[in-house]
Subunit: 355 residues, 2 copies
């Protein structure tokens, strides 16, 4: 064999080896770990996370794999912020208002009493400065936060007795956590928080007089409709948006295309969850109503709603006084709401009213 | 130099060459051509197409490139169905109801008078069998159709005179194309279609008495608010969903990951357009109202709306009689609407009513 023949053959073999190994070389797999606040296989909320991870994996041809740990695994359902900030997890799925005790300005990126409905709030996030304000709050902690799926308008809750006046709120023991609980407390109610697993018994045994959970999409499996006759329409969470959290350093290490895939997968999963919640609420409400036709839909009387709104406005003013950033967010939301609600009123609302 | 030294060096150079050329080899670029019904740089609708193409290109790291031809280029704004079916274009962006003269069952996948609002209709597409029915209609033509962006609730149009009774519809010359035009005709109106570029002059010179276009998101640039005092709320297009069309053979030739990227990019662009339309409607309405405070928002009287609805129901019955597939679609929509509207009424509507 001549020297050149040997070299040619060697090169040919090398070329074959290179070509054969190219796909394996190119396909470096990036693995991210995500901690969710929810238990394993939790409907709707958990579906949003699985939907996101599936889209990311399929769009990246397996180069981006996201492992999902539920609260059963990481045992810290309300510790997601710290887990992602500290880097124990690369991502999280939770709700921004859970961190208000730690970072007060996180309160505003989920939903606000008497605030925007879902398409209005997505308008604020995408076009009204909402995402930029969320970036401002979270970037200080090395975190990125994105919409994580909307439950739609949450129901005001299940009540054993009708609420006919402000007096009926005095001493009312109700499971209603967070900011809405503070609003209720200003009117003399006794807001409490009780772990989800104990809620049914507490309501049945009258340890509490009322509770709010989500809406038919998730209330059906809790069974509250079997033990409380009044289902109140919502005022306190008109568009609850969950949250994807991402550790900024981990995100920055991803190649540009995978960053984009991850962002689009999160965005799509969020929108998809809004639509799934809307559908599941309709389907589940029909079932609840047909199984338990005694359920009565009620709306709080004007007097009660006006008092709740006054209490809400006072609490917001307190918050704005305490933090210039909170003030900026509250103003941004109010200005956007004032503008967008006029449109809602002459479009969907006028249409629904005219039928 | 020894033979083995030469071989080693040659191999090292070959390896370098291979590695350098690997990304180019791996990155086979797939190019798709898309024809849109809209003119170049058309706001909102055109933004949805550009948003989709940009997401697809970035997520695929440049492996999926979509060239967008506007109507200025292909000259067939209402020929997109044929252009994509025939393979002259791989994709299209248009509206399904434009093809009702060709394939009557395509009528139902845009919006229907007195039909679903946007989140309800997305619920029907994603969870109520809507996408499957759309597949059934389009697959016969070698096409795939997906939601392409929602305008939200369209306004009922600009009127020179108030509509106070059914008599005011008799002989009313109105630009209102499509199915809604047929409904109006049944009540004695004279629906016409006039090219967009001539609409302003036609309304100003009273060649027509009224016209509907979209809503503030796109009406502002048309200037109708300067020449017609009455802006009616909507009944005829409560959730106009545009359409991405894809040639099935071309889609099947894409690698699985690019198929998924394309599908997710279309879905996200559709949702994004709904939110952009919502925002732009609010922003533009504020501007119209502040520049022309004389604009009066009106809703058709009950008597007129009830007559329009009866006419609409009769036309739908006719359609159902003519086509078993149309019947299946109409039934599916009505059943879903009956279920989902109950939820809309106790969630967003009850909330908005209570404020």
């Amino acid at each position: 064999m001549s020297k050149s023949g040997f070299v040619t053959r060697t090169l040919a073999i090398a070329t074959l080896l290179m070509v054969a190994s190219t796909p394996i070389q190119a396909a470096k797999v990036y693995r991210l770990k995500l901690a969710e606040t929810w238990p394993s296989n939790f409907p709707v909320f958990g579906d949003a996370v699985r939907n996101m991870a599936k889209m990311a994996e399929e769009m990246s041809d397996g180069r981006l794999k996201i492992r999902i740990d539920s609260k059963n695994k990481h045992k810290a359902p309300l510790g997601i912020f710290d887990l992602v900030k500290g880097g124990q997890y690369d991502m999280g799925h939770s709700a921004s208002y859970y961190w208000k005790g730690k970072v007060p300005e996180t309160l505003y990126f989920t939903t606000m009493p008497f605030g925007m409905i879902a398409p209005e709030q997505y308008g604020w996030f995408n076009h009204g400065g909402g995402q930029e304000l969320m970036d401002k709050v979270y970037s200080k902690h090395g975190l990125m936060s994105f919409p994580g799926g909307n439950t739609g308008n949450q129901m005001g809750g299940w009540f054993q007795k009708e609420i006919n006046s402000l007096d009926d709120l005095k001493g009312l023991k109700m499971r209603i956590p967070g900011f809405a609980g503070e609003v209720m407390a200003k009117l003399g109610a006794k807001p409490t928080n009780i772990p989800p697993g104990e809620l049914y018994t507490a309501l049945e045994r009258r340890t509490i007089d009322a509770l709010e959970w989500v809406g038919p999409s998730l209330d059906l499996r809790m069974g509250f409709h079997k033990i409380a006759p009044y289902y109140y329409t919502g005022w306190h969470e008109p568009a609850t948006e969950l949250q994807f959290l991402v550790n900024k350093r981990k995100f920055d290490r991803l190649p540009k295309d995978l960053q984009q895939i991850l962002k689009v997968a999160m965005k799509t999963a969020a929108y998809d969850m809004y639509i799934q919640s809307y559908n599941d609420s309709a389907v589940n409400w029909e079932k609840m109503k047909s199984d338990f036709p005694h359920i009565k839909i009620r709306t709080f009387p004007k007097e009660v709603l006006q008092a709740l709104r006054r209490a809400n406005d006072e609490l917001l003013k307190d918050n704005a006084r305490k933090s210039p950033l909170a003030k900026e967010i509250i103003q941004s939301q109010q200005e956007y709401l004032n503008k967008v609600r006029v449109w809602t009123n002459i479009s969907d609302k006028a249409y629904l009213d005219s039928l």
